[in-house]
Amino acid sequence: MFEDIAAIEHFVVMILLTVLIVLTLGIIYLKDLLAAVILSGLYSLVSAAIFVAMDAVDVAFTEAAVGAGISTIILLGALSFTKREQKPQKHNNLPALIIVCMTGALLIYGTLDMPSYGDGKSPANSNPQLAQHYLQKSPDETGVPNVVTSVLASYRGYDTLGETAVVFTAAIGVLSLLGLRRRRRQEDPNLTPRQRRRQQSEDT
């Protein structure tokens, strides 16, 4: 019974990762940036399902709210200020492809002596006693049943403070780059009369 459940979990994660690879190929080949952004939103949705299948429910929550929600909307906003299509490229991509294949082959060679997926006795899970300490002492020391929350907010609270500083800095950077003033678009000859009327009514 136990073996069966583990095999099913591995199977689900494998199928979902393959789906992600196919989606990535779609993002590479699509010329329309809006379609690529839509596919990347789908990518985030599927990736959060993978996090659930890997037992990382808090990560799945964050990925759903931040990855699928906010980043898609940020990308759409950036596209609404810039262009929608990607120009065809003249030069060949062969050197890039060779570099990527070589790096990938080296990395795959590096994985050959890695512990297999789901191995409870792998060095990452057993050797540093830190994770065991968190799992055993966290209810007594912090009183929070969710270990991820207790580590994030209590044991490694300064980490989270630093993360907040990074997000704050990024917000300041975006505001100073784009400004708070209302941006005015230049007149686009391809607009239909209806869209032009709408723009004029917005500007006034």
Binding site: V22, D32, A35, L42, F61, A68
Partner: protein
């Protein structure tokens, strides 16, 4: 039973993704993204039951809402070419 449900959801997800990759118009892609979001909601709910701990159904609840917000944002971008415009004119039906 849950295994059959999970496999059915995965099959449906793969079919929907095929439409998202093939889709001739961008509206087909949008439709299949919306549909795939529903499939992912079912997948997460069923996965909780499969592993015997159905406490994490909140995630699928969150998904149902996020999926809707994404769809509406993209469609607003289609119609107005902008996310911020609140102008809704009388010739809209």
């Amino acid at each position: 039973m849950y295994l059959a449900l999970v496999i059915a959801v995965l099959v449906a997800l793969v079919l929907v993704l095929t439409r998202a990759l093939l889709g001739p118009t961008i509206y087909d892609r949008m439709l299949s993204v919306n549909s795939a979001g529903t499939k992912v909601v079912i997948l997460i709910a069923a996965y909780g039951f499969l592993t015997g701990r159905p406490d994490f159904v909140d995630i699928s609840l969150l998904y149902a809402l996020i999926n809707y917000i994404t769809t509406i944002a993209v469609l607003k971008f289609f119609e107005y070419g902008d996310l911020g415009s609140g102008a809704y004119q009388e010739d809209d039906i």
